[in-house]
């Protein structure tokens, strides 16, 4: 069953085309690693899939609902995905547990489980505002928020960036478990070893559009 379907996607930013004609499917239980040169549009693709950046053309469907479609479709698709942005930059005034609560309430789900909290070391971050965290701490907090649900599709933009070795291992374990439970994952990364550990199918982006 296809969880994510991307059809002829094109996105423009700042007056220039960043990506165009992207075609991609991710099935339930599948992990797809998006790779490519710096500036080729990996983050743009993931932001568009996650409903953050509106495309100029094409269509993104998550769990059968169009991310940029009708109100009902928008709500359903966002309900089905968890997103970690490249900068791990949700509103900085939120405390970590407020972000998890927001994601849990938005997805009609339970807050992070004890297992997830232990794996990512979330308890120590609970009462810390995001804008006082290091990049690695923000990334862990965002991962905790993304896994809340858990959603049918994880959209992770360089989720390994800033993580120490212990948390990186935990992340690999969590993503594999998510896939084993039937969840789909699309992630951008420059870490070939991590993609290999995840047994991810590689989606190679074209060189940057000039």
């Amino acid at each position: 069953m296809t969880v994510l379907h991307v059809d002829k996607l094109a996105v423009r930013r700042g007056g220039r085309t960043i990506i165009e004609d992207i075609e991609l499917d991710v099935a339930a239980g599948e992990i797809v690693g998006v790779v490519g040169k710096n500036g080729c549009g990996k983050s743009t693709l993931l932001a568009s899939i996650a409903g953050v950046l509106a495309p100029r053309d094409g269509r993104v469907t998550v769990d059968g609902a169009r991310v940029w479609g009708s109100r009902r479709d928008r709500t359903h698709s966002r309900h089905a995905l968890g997103y970690v942005p490249e900068g791990a930059d949700p509103p900085g005034f939120l405390l970590a547990d407020e972000l998890w609560s927001l994601c849990a309430a938005s997805r009609d789900a339970e807050p992070p489980s004890q297992k997830l909290r232990d794996a990512l070391g979330l308890d120590e971050l609970r009462a810390t505002p995001l804008d006082r965290m290091s990049l690695g701490q923000r990334r862990r907090t965002c991962l905790g928020a993304a896994f809340v649900g858990p959603p049918k599709l994880l959209v992770l933009d360089e989720p390994d960036n800033g993580l120490d070795a212990k948390r990186l291992d935990a992340l690999v374990g969590l993503v594999k478990e998510h896939a084993a439970a039937g969840g789909a994952t699309i992630l951008a990364s420059h870490d070939a070893l991590m993609l290999e550990q995840l047994d991810a199918r590689v989606f190679q982006m074209r060189d940057p559009v000039r």
Binding site: R71, R78, D97, A105, S106, E110
Partner: protein, 360 residues
């Protein structure tokens, strides 16, 4: 339906309770978009309150006088509208682009409520402008507000195309520093520049209206006009200086002397001239006095920047120092009239001569 999804997380029990209460999408969106825009607008409100006190003071105009003048005098109307557009565009940009809430777009949330809140804030945060036109012109004023807001919306949504950067070819260190400062202003300080230009026009327009309204001429007009320009220009100059400080701290003093004060003053004089016309002699008096005050202020700011170069508190010192320099200029002009320019200039030169040892 959307609201039903934003139920309280406190109803769940697997996560230790921290008594945070409800965390609702719309609340977070409001804090991420409306509150920062409100904070930025509050500075505009303070600035316009000062200007309003000058223009609508006991011997001043009524709002209908100003709006009537703007409607029947193209120069005044254009100056007023452009000033407000430039001052308010950065706030409008925060509301329209909502960059602070980008992450929230990945979560299911309401669409209509943030749109309505955004529109309400777009008009509500223009309170001084709205008050001026509604009190001054009633329904015609509302039409003006809507038209100007549409223009502001277009301006705020416009993203200039990215210029293709050439390979830099800086032949000496001075050229490199100048180029770095200009690039910092162009690329990082779009809002500060737009706001600065708006405030400079506002300073000039306020001075022009003050002079015109009080029927001042020549030396008397130049003293009062220069004093008004000096104080209203402070936030414009500080915004730009802080960006230059961030780009290259060691040469910020050079920018203070060479560019910021004089350019801001030139813009202000241009705006004042549009309103004072056709009294050429008064405009020339005002230009001469304001340029002298600007040179003195430039020296004063440079002194303050050089003294604080090594300090971590340089940014706050820049703000306070600029206010002190402007206030001192006003005191000199108030006490000694046109001769206050000489007193202010002499003090500024003296201040430069007493730069602490070790400063570059």
């Amino acid at each position: 339906m959307a609201d039903a999804m934003h139920r309280s997380s406190s109803s769940t029990t697997s996560f230790p309770a921290t008594a945070r209460g409800d965390v609702r999408w719309l609340d977070v969106w409001t804090r991420a978009v409306i509150v920062p825009a409100g904070r930025r607008a509050s500075a505009i409100w303070v600035g316009t309150a000062i200007v309003a006190a000058v223009i609508f003071g006991p011997t001043g105009m009524r709002p209908s006088d100003l709006t009537g003048l703007a409607l029947h005098h193209p120069g005044v109307g254009a100056t007023l509208a452009v000033t407000w557009m430039l001052i308010y565009a950065p706030t409008a940009r925060m509301l329209l682009r909502a960059d602070g809430a980008a992450f929230l777009r990945s979560l299911p949330g309401p669409r209509v409520a943030p749109f309505l809140l955004g529109v309400a804030a777009l008009f509500g945060l223009q309170a001084p402008w709205v008050a001026l036109w509604v009190i001054g012109e009633g329904f015609v004023g509302i039409a003006v507000i809507i038209l100007v807001t549409l223009a502001i919306t277009l301006l705020a949504r416009w993203r200039p195309p990215r210029a293709r950067a050439k390979w830099p070819n800086w032949r000496h260190p001075g050229a490199a520093l100048r180029a770095i400062q200009l690039r910092a202003l162009r690329r990082r300080a779009g809002d500060a520049l737009v706001r600065g230009i708006g405030l400079a026009i506002l300073a000039g327009a306020t001075a022009g209206l003050f002079v015109r309204n009080n029927e001042l001429h020549d030396a008397a007009a130049s003293v009062m006009g220069a004093a008004v320009i000096a104080i209203v220009l402070v936030p414009a100059e500080v915004g730009v200086l802080l960006v230059i400080l961030g780009a290259h701290r060691e040469t910020a003093w050079l920018a203070a002397i060479a560019v910021v004060q004089l350019v801001a003053t030139a813009i202000a004089i241009g705006a004042a001239a549009l309103i004072i016309e056709p009294d050429t002699s008064t405009v020339l008096w005002l230009a001469g006095t304001s340029v002298c005050v600007a040179l003195g202020s430039a020296l004063g700011c440079a002194r303050m920047l050089l003294a604080a170069e090594e300090l971590p508190s340089i940014a706050s010192r820049t703000v306070v120092g600029s206010i002190v320099v402007a206030a001192y200029a006003i005191v000199c002009l108030g006490l000694f009239g046109i001769f206050g320019v000489a007193a202010f200039g002499a003090t500024a030169i003296l201040a430069i001569a007493t730069i602490p040892q070790g400063s570059s």
